[in-house]
């Protein structure tokens, strides 16, 4: 992990000097994570791909503004976050954020594919803010401070969104046995 960070730092330094091949390598390293983050947020492959493309273009344009090369990840996800929310605002100009509600079916004794459907259903019950916190923490493995940096909000806000989301997800995915669910 440390070696990887050093390598990323080196690539960033080279990309700052307009070494496009170095930036291309950065793109290939981060594109899957950025794509999956956007995919789970906007839930459309083509939209996620378009937004990923925009994220890397804007990252290239603004690389000079990155103050600390070691914070490239949170910085890149901040751009992705801004792109995703611009996308939401374009789609739902009158609302703050979409908050879809979908009933999640019961989850136990399922095959992996079925469980995935249940998990997607459970995630769709969260607000976009909560879902984003879950994606960045559980799937992307960022620290609270890094998430706060990416979302430009206090750590306490991140924790609040994440823990509220977890309570919802627990009810759907790991209900208390004494409530009659296996």
């Amino acid at each position: 992990m440390i070696f990887r960070e050093v390598e990323d730092g080196d690539l960033i330094a080279r990309a700052r000097r307009k070494d496009v091949e170095a930036f291309n390598l950065l793109v290939s390293r981060w594109e899957k994570r950025v794509f999956n983050y956007l995919l789970r947020l906007v839930r459309g492959r083509e939209d996620a791909l378009d937004l990923s493309q925009d994220v890397f273009l804007k990252a290239y344009q603004n690389l000079g503004k990155l103050e600390d090369d070691q914070r490239f990840g949170p910085w890149l996800f901040r751009i992705a976050h801004n792109e995703a929310y611009s996308f939401f605002r374009g789609r739902h100009p009158e609302d703050e954020l979409p908050a879809e509600a979908a009933a999640a079916p019961s989850r136990y004794h399922m095959y992996p594919a079925e469980l995935s459907v249940v998990v997607e259903g459970a995630l769709s019950r969260l607000t976009a803010d909560q879902r984003e916190a879950v994606i960045l923490k559980v799937y992307e493995g960022f620290k609270f401070e890094e998430i706060a940096e990416a979302l430009e909000c206090p750590v306490s806000t991140v924790k609040s969104r994440l823990y509220t989301a977890l309570d919802v997800l627990k009810e759907a995915l790991a209900p208390i046995p004494s409530r009659g669910v296996q």
Binding site: N36, D54, K58, G90, R107, V138, F144, L166, L173, A174
Partner: protein, 195 residues
């Protein structure tokens, strides 16, 4: 230690310092409620990880891919004819030089400064890349704007279609009611006509 759910979640996500983490671990061993809560968190996380990371459907095309495509003459120059062309050129030069330089004069040839011979690096024209990035961003913004307009237009069409469908249905319902009403009138007239 109290059964603070925030401590437990911080512990679960590995966000506590080692000393505090050890305290929570000790507490969980003796607290069935917290142990159950921790199990539920692990179950939830396990379920969440059933969603696999997907590969992007196609590679994200960075703008430089096109900018740095070799020109036609670069492709030609890097292809097989290059060696033949260079050999022919050298031969032609040798013939010309030989024909004009009959008297053989031994001229000391200065040693070649091999260290000074460098392969010119592929020039990265930053302004071209920046220009291409700007163009791509503008194109992307235009694409998003176009998508929004299309969505609004599609929504408008849907509403119009729904409105027409409602009107047709309303007219059909009205016609049906009219027929029933007429039927009732006829029936009542028949009934009224009986002695």
């Amino acid at each position: 230690m109290s059964c603070s759910p925030f401590d437990l979640k911080d512990y679960f996500f590995g966000e506590l310092a080692e000393a505090e983490s050890a305290r929570v671990r000790t507490h969980v061993e003796s607290c069935p409620t917290c142990a159950e809560e921790l199990d539920r968190l692990r179950l939830t996380e396990g379920a969440l990880h059933s969603l696999r990371q997907e590969d992007p459907p196609r590679r994200i095309a960075f703008v430089s891919d096109r900018v740095f495509e070799p020109r036609w003459w670069q492709v030609w120059w890097n292809s097989a004819p290059r060696l033949g062309f260079a050999s022919a050129t050298l031969l032609a030069i040798a013939i010309v030089v030989h024909s004009f330089a009959r008297p053989v004069v031994m001229v000391p040839v200065p040693p070649i400064q091999t260290a000074a011979v460098q392969v010119p690096a592929r020039a990265v024209d930053a302004s071209r890349v920046d220009e291409a990035v700007r163009a791509a961003v503008s194109a992307s913004e235009a694409r998003q704007a176009k998508k929004t307009v299309e969505m609004v237009e599609a929504a408008r069409r849907d509403i119009e279609f729904q409105r027409r469908a409602d009107r047709v249905q309303f007219e059909e319902t009205l016609m049906l009611l009219q027929k029933r009403y007429n039927g009732l009138l006829v029936a009542s007239a028949d009934y009224g006509g009986r002695p």
